[in-house]
Point group: C2
Chain length 406, copies 2
C-alpha cells in the first residue's frame, strides 16, 4: 500500500467538484461540493449518535439502508438542523443533484455543516447547481475544490488517497474530510467522504468501515461536542475489476489496511486542525488490561480542558494527565502509572509509579514546543495499547466560538 495524490477522485470512475453558491452572504469560499461515480456503487455510512440529528443525516440514514448510492452533495455554511423546512430542503438538495446528474434521487446522499437553526438558502443551492455540475472533474483539482467546499472553520483542506493490490488488480481508495469544531469521538464525528474503485458488497463495506472508524475517527476529540451532522460515507464502484472482497480473506485485510491508513491520516489532520489548535496531542496508553480500558483512559486525557490548556502553554503539567486518568471512570492502580512526554525534539520521563520525577524543565519545554506532542502513558498492568488524538485549547478556540454565528 502506498499513499497517492488525487483524494476523493483518485479511484477510477469518480468525479468531484466544488463552487461558491453564496449559501452564506458575503463569503467567497467554496460552499457546495458534489461527488459522483460514473456507475452505481455499494454504499455504507456511519452517522452521529447525537439524539438531535440534522435533516440530511436523517435522510442519508434512509438512503444508505439499501446499500447503494452514486453521488454525494454537501454544503458548508448551514447545518440544516433544527431549522424551518429542514427535511423539505434536504430532499430538495437531493432532487436537484439527481436532476443535474441524470440519476434518481434515492442514489444521492446529502451532507450539511454550519450554523444550526437557521433555514438553509435553498435558492442559492438551486442557482449554484449548474456551475457545480459543470465543475465535476476526475482530476485531483476536482477533489481539491470539493474538499474546500466542505470546510467551515478548518484552516487546511483534508484529502488523502491510497493505492494497493488485491488479487493482482490495482485498487484505489481516497477521501476528503472536514473537522475543526464539534469534534468528539462518538461514531464518525465530522464529515468524511471516501471513494474506492474496489469491488466489495455493501455489507462487507459497512463492516470494515465500522472497524476502521472505531479506531480512527472515534478516537479523536477537539472539544467534546458531538455534532448533529457527523457523517462518514464510503462509495465503492467496483471499477478496479478485482474479485469482490469478502471477509476473512487476504483481500479484506489489504483493503482494511489501506482504509485504516487513509482514515488515520485524515483523523490526525482533523485533530491537528481543531479549532484554534496549535498542537496535535497524541495520547498513547499502553500496558493496559484491555483495549477498552486503554481507550477510556486515553480519551479522558485528550478531552481534559486542563491538559489541553497546559499543552498550549508548553507546560509539562503531568499532574493534569494523572488527574484526567483518575476521573476517566476506569479502575487502575495510580501507583503503577508512568508518564513520558515525547516529540520530534526527544523524550522526557516526568512520572514513575505515580510519583513525580525531577526533570529538566528546559528539555521539557523544547519537547512541548513541537507541533505534535505525544503523551506516552504506561499503566504497567497488561498488554493492551490504544492511541487517541486531540489538540490543545487556545485563545483562538474561544475566539472562534465566542462569535460563531456572525
Amino acid at each position: 500500500m502506498k499513499f497517492i495524490e488525487g483524494g476523493i477522485t483518485a479511484a477510477r470512475g469518480f468525479k468531484a467538484g466544488g463552487v461558491n453558491a453564496g449559501i452564506k452572504a458575503g463569503r467567497t469560499k467554496n460552499d457546495l461540493a458534489l461527488i459522483a461515480s460514473d456507475v452505481p456503487c455499494a454504499a455504507a455510512g456511519l452517522f452521529t449518535r447525537n439524539k438531535v440529528k440534522a435533516a440530511p443525516v436523517q435522510l442519508d440514514i434512509e438512503t444508505v439502508r439499501k446499500g447503494s448510492a452514486r453521488a454525494i452533495i454537501a454544503n458548508s455554511g448551514n447545518a440544516n438542523a433544527c431549522a424551518p423546512n429542514d427535511m423539505e430542503n434536504a430532499r430538495k438538495m437531493q432532487k436537484l443533484a439527481a436532476e443535474a446528474l441524470g440519476i434518481s434521487a434515492d442514489e444521492v446522499l446529502v451532507g450539511s455543516t454550519g450554523v444550526i437553526g437557521v433555514e438553509i438558502n435553498i435558492a442559492a443551492i438551486e442557482k449554484g447547481l449548474p456551475a457545480l455540475a459543470a465543475s465535476l472533474s476526475d482530476e485531483a483539482a476536482g477533489s481539491d475544490e470539493a474538499a474546500k467546499a466542505i470546510m467551515t472553520t478548518d484552516t487546511k483542506k483534508k484529502e488523502q488517497a491510497a493505492e494497493f493490490e488485491i488479487g493482482g488488480r490495482t485498487v484505489k481508495l481516497g477521501g476528503i474530510s472536514k473537522g475543526s469544531g464539534m469534534i468528539h469521538p462518538n461514531m464518525g464525528t465530522m464529515l468524511c467522504y471516501l471513494t474506492t474503485d474496489c469491488a466489495i458488497d455493501c455489507v462487507t463495506l459497512k463492516k470494515v468501515l465500522k472497524e476502521v472508524c472505531d479506531v480512527t475517527f472515534n478516537r479523536i476529540s477537539v472539544d467534546g461536542d458531538t455534532s448533529t451532522n457527523d457523517s462518514l460515507i464510503i462509495l465503492a464502484n467496483g471499477m478496479a475489476g478485482n474479485e469482490p472482497v469478502i471477509e476473512n480473506t487476504e483481500g479484506y485485510a489489504v483493503f482494511k489496511e489501506a482504509l485504516l491508513a487513509v482514515c488515520t491520516d485524515l483523523a490526525r489532520r482533523m485533530a491537528a486542525d481543531g479549532e484554534g489548535a496549535k498542537h496535535l496531542i497524541t495520547c498513547t496508553v499502553a500496558g493496559c488490561e484491555s483495549e477498552e480500558k486503554a481507550e477510556i483512559l486515553s480519551k479522558s486525557v485528550i478531552g481534559s480542558s486542563l491538559t489541553k490548556a497546559a499543552v498550549f502553554g508548553c507546560d509539562a503539567n503531568w499532574g493534569r494527565v494523572l488527574c484526567a486518568l483518575g476521573y476517566s471512570g476506569a479502575d487502575f492502580d495510580p501507583l503503577k502509572v508512568d508518564v513520558d512526554f515525547v516529540s520530534s525534539a526527544g523524550r522526557i520521563g516526568v512520572c514513575r509509579q505515580g510519583k513525580g520525577l525531577v526533570f529538566d524543565e528546559d528539555k521539557a519545554l523544547e519537547i512541548l514546543k513541537q507541533d505534535e506532542v505525544i503523551i506516552d502513558i504506561n499503566m504497567n498492568e497488561g498488554e493492551a495499547a490504544v492511541t487517541c488524538w486531540g489538540c490543545d485549547l487556545t485563545y483562538d478556540y474561544v475566539k472562534i466560538n465566542g462569535d460563531y454565528r456572525t
Copy 2:
C-alpha cells in the same frame, strides 16, 4: 432561616485563622488555614471520586470514618498529590496542627489544593504553625483569613452562614469554600468546609450532607475536570443546645433547608468565579420525565465548550444548546424542546418544538451581556426540573491554565 455574617466562625465555639506560610516561594497571600472547635464535633465528609486521590484526601477518609473530629488544617499552593512523601507529609501536617491545638492527631482533618506532583514544603508549614494558631479568632475576621488561605486561582473569597431555629433554640451554620479550576460535578468537587453548632449525630449529618451535596456542589462545573483533592467537610459541635436532630422530623427539615441555602450559595459563587469566568451560566431543564434525566441534560449543557464559548461571546447560539442536549446520552424527542435565554435584562424565546424562532438579536445581546445568564429549557414531556450551574469559557481560562505551574 436567614443568612448572617461570620462564615465558618458564625457557629458557636468555632475559631478560624489563616496566614502566609510561604508554601510557594514569592507568594504573599494567605496559604495556610486552620479551623478549630472548642469541643469535639460530629464530623462528616464527602470526597473526590477521582481514582487518583491526594494523600490528605486518603487520610481524611480514614479520619472521618469514626464520625468525629475537631479541627481542619488546609493549605493552598500544593495539592500534596502524586508527590514524593505525600502521605508522610499529610500525617505531619495533621500532627503539627494537633500539637498546636493540644488535641490528638486523629481529631484533625487535612486539606490541600494546588499543583500536583511536587513535594509539599512541610518545613514552611511547620514554621508557620505558631503564627497560624495565634491567628485563631471566633470573629468574622478569622473566617475571612481562613477563606483567603484556601484560595488558588479564585478571585473572590467564598463564605456564607445562616441562622435558624430548631425546637426553640437558635442554631447557626456557616462555611467557606474555594473553587475556580478542576471543577466538575462528581461528589464534592472542590474544598468546602462547614461548621455548625447544631446537635446532630454523625450518621444523620452524613446523610443530610450527601442529600444537599448532590443538588448543589455536584451540579456545578467549570471545566469538566474532577480534581484529586475535592473535599466537603462539616463539623457539628452541638453547642446550640438543641435536641439532637434526627431524620424525619421538623428539625431535620429545618437543618437541611439551611444547609441547602448555604451550599447553593457557595456552589453558585464557585461557578460564577470559575477560572477566567465572565458569566455565571444557570441551566434549568424543566418538563422532564425524571429528575435524573433532567440532571444529565442540564449538566451536558453547562459542560459544553461550544455553549460556554458562545455565552462568553454573548452569542445567542441556541443550536449549541440543542446539540449538547442531543449528545448527553438522555433519550428525548428533539421536536418537543423549547429554549429561552433569561437574565436580569429580560427573557427571549429562541427555540420552540426543536425549531429556531426569529428573534430580536439586539434584545438577545442585552440579555446575554448580564453577569448571570439563565438557559431555560422545557422538554415538554413531564414534571421534573433540575438546575445546574457553570460558567463561560474565556481567554483567561486558557491563559490561567496554559501556564499554571510557573
